[in-house]
C-alpha cells in the first residue's frame, strides 16, 4: 500500500526547471531514498511533498490523516532553549496534550541519543542538533518520516549511530524518506530509492535487484549524463 505518491511533480525557479515531471511512490513501512548530487532537486522535492513550497505542476497524494515528521538538513533551534524545551515547544504546536508530551519527551531524547539535561541548544554540537532535529520529527509518533541529510556534518561514529536509530525506526514500522549523499548509509538502511539529476528521474533503485553496489550505479548514472 502506498504511503505517498508523487505524480509528475514540477518546480520552476527563475525560468529553470529544478524538478521536472518527477513521479514515484513510497510504500508503507519502507525506507525510500532520494539520491542525487547537489542541486539535483532532492530538497525541493521534499519541500513540495511537505507543502513548504508550491508546486508548479503534478500531484502529491498521501494517506489520509497521515502525520509526517520532518528533520531538516540544517536545523535551527532557539539557542536559549534546552532539548526538552525545544520538544515541548514543537509538541505544543502539534497540540499534543501536555501530559502526553511529558511522557513522550524523555523517550524521544533517549531514542535520538540525547540526554535530558539543562544544556542549552547554543552549546550543542552539530551532531547533537541533528539528533534533536530527529527527536522533534518523532513527536506525536508520525507514520511517515522525512529526513533531509540526517547525517550531514556528523563524524563517523555519529553517522553510524544515526543510521542505527533510523534502522530501528524502520523496524518499528515507520515509513522513511531519506535524502542523502552518503550512498553507503543509504544502502545499509533503505529498501528502494530514485536517482535524480537536474530534476529528472534517472534511475529507480531497489536493494538487491542488481549485483552492483549503489555507489557503482550512482557513478554510472550521474556521471553518464
Amino acid at each position: 500500500m502506498n504511503m505517498l505518491s508523487c505524480r509528475n511533480l514540477k518546480k520552476i525557479y527563475q525560468k529553470q526547471c529544478v524538478v521536472n515531471g518527477l513521479s514515484f511512490a513510497v510504500q508503507e513501512g519502507e525506507a525510500f531514498a532520494l539520491l542525487g548530487s547537489n542541486g539535483a532537486g532532492k530538497t525541493t522535492t521534499i519541500k513540495m511533498i511537505l507543502g513548504l513550497i508550491p508546486k508548479d505542476g503534478g500531484d502529491v497524494e498521501k494517506q489520509e490523516n497521515i502525520r509526517i515528521g520532518y528533520s531538516p538538513e540544517t536545523p535551527y533551534f532557539h539557542p536559549f532553549l534546552n532539548g526538552r524545551e525545544v520538544l515541548e515547544f514543537y509538541g505544543s504546536l502539534q497540540n499534543i496534550p501536555k501530559k502526553e508530551l511529558k511522557e513522550q519527551i524523555p523517550a524521544l531524547l533517549d531514542r535520538a541519543g540525547l540526554e535530558d539535561s539543562r544544556t542549552k541548544v547554543k552549546n550543542y554540537s552539530k551532531g547533537m542538533l541533528q539528533r534533536l532535529a530527529l527527536a522533534q520529527a518523532l513527536l506525536g509518533d508520525p507514520k511517515l518520516l522525512i529526513l533531509d541529510e540526517p547525517s550531514a556534518g556528523l563524524d563517523a561514529l555519529g553517522r553510524v549511530e544515526m543510521m542505527q536509530t533510523i534502522r530501528s525506526l524502520k523496524e518499528d514500522g515507520k515509513t522513511i524518506i531519506i535524502n542523502s549523499h552518503i550512498l553507503g548509509d543509504i544502502e545499509r538502511v533503505c529498501d528502494r530509492g530514485i536517482i535524480i539529476k537536474k530534476g529528472n528521474l534517472l534511475y529507480e533503485w531497489e536493494k538487491g535487484k542488481e549485483n552492483r553496489s549503489l555507489e557503482e550505479i550512482f557513478v554510472e548514472k550521474i556521471g553518464g549524463m
Binding site: 511537505l50 536559549f80 515547544f89
Partner: protein
C-alpha cells in the same frame, strides 16, 4: 503562544535594543532636565503642562523607530533560518504563525515605549503632578496604539518586501503618520504638484498623531476625542488585516 514567547525571549536578548532604549531615555531626560530647552514666542517652556506634550511627541517618534527596529527582522529571520519549516509542517496557519510573531513585536515595542513613557511619569511625580500619575495607565494605553500599529505594519510589510525596502517604507509610514498635522499644514503652503503629492501622502498614510495626542490631552486635562482613539484602533485593525492578507508563498 509558544511562538510568541520564544520570539519575545529572542528580542530581549538583542542588545542593540537596549542601546536604542538608553539613547531614548537620555533624550527624554535631556528634554525634561532643561539641558535641551524649548522656547515658544521667546518664552522658555518650563511648565509641566507645556513640556509634557512635547516630550510625549519625542517619545512617540523614538518609540516608532524602536518599533520598526524591533519588528523588521523578526519574521524574515524565521524564514531565513528555516524555523518556519518546522512550524508549517505542523499545520500551524500562516496567520497564527505570523500573528504570534507580530504580537511579540508589538509587546516588545510597547514595552520599550513604556520604558520611555515611565520617564514622563517620573518627571510628573517629581513635579508633584499627582493628577497626571493617576491617568498614567489609561493614557499609556491610548499612547501605545500608534506604536503598536507601526510595529504591526512593519511585521506585515516584512513578510513580502526585502528588509531595506520594508525599513524605508515603514520609516516613511511612521514619520508621515506621526507628522500628519505638519504635512496638513505643508499641503496648505505648497502648490502645484507638491501640493498634490503631499495630499496623496495624507490620504494614504493614516494620522498616527491623532491618537497619540489624545494621551497628552488626557494627561493635561484637555478634551479627549474618542474619534481619534477609535481611528488609531482602526489603523491597528487594518494593519492586522494586512498581516492576515499578506502571505508567504514559501516557507
Amino acid at each position: 503562544m509558544g511562538i510568541m514567547k520564544n520570539a519575545l525571549r529572542e528580542r530581549i536578548r538583542r542588545k542593540d535594543i537596549y542601546v536604542v532604549i538608553m539613547i531614548g531615555i537620555l533624550i527624554v531626560m535631556m528634554c525634561m532636565s532643561g539641558a535641551a530647552t524649548l522656547s515658544i514666542n521667546g518664552v522658555s517652556v518650563t511648565e509641566f503642562q507645556m513640556v509634557m506634550p512635547l516630550v510625549m511627541n519625542v517619545i512617540s517618534v523614538l518609540g516608532g523607530g524602536i518599533a520598526i527596529a524591533l519588528s523588521l527582522r523578526t519574521i524574515p529571520n524565521e524564514y531565513e533560518r528555516k524555523t518556519s519549516h518546522l512550524v508549517w509542517i505542523r499545520g500551524v496557519s500562516q496567520w497564527k504563525y505570523h500573528g504570534q510573531l507580530a504580537l511579540a513585536n508589538i509587546v516588545s515595542s510597547v514595552g520599550a515605549l513604556f520604558i520611555l513613557y515611565a520617564g514622563v511619569m517620573i518627571f510628573a511625580a517629581v513635579r508633584g503632578e499627582t493628577g497626571v500619575l493617576a491617568k498614567g495607565v489609561p493614557a499609556f494605553l491610548i499612547f501605545s496604539v500608534s506604536t503598536a500599529a507601526v510595529s504591526l505594519f512593519t511585521s506585515a510589510v516584512s513578510l513580502v518586501l526585502p528588509s531595506m525596502a520594508a525599513g524605508v517604507l515603514c520609516a516613511a509610514f511612521m514619520l508621515a503618520g506621526t507628522m500628519h498635522p505638519i504635512l496638513e499644514t505643508v499641503s496648505g503652503i505648497v502648490s502645484g504638484v507638491s501640493r498634490q503629492l503631499v495630499r496623496a501622502i495624507l490620504f494614504i498614510v493614516p494620522d498616527l498623531y491623532a491618537a497619540e495626542s489624545q494621551a497628552a490631552n488626557l494627561l493635561s486635562g484637555k478634551t479627549v476625542q474618542i474619534h481619534s482613539i477609535l481611528g488609531g484602533l482602526l489603523v491597528l485593525y487594518v494593519c492586522g488585516l494586512l498581516l492576515f492578507v499578506l502571505r508567504r508563498k514559501e516557507a
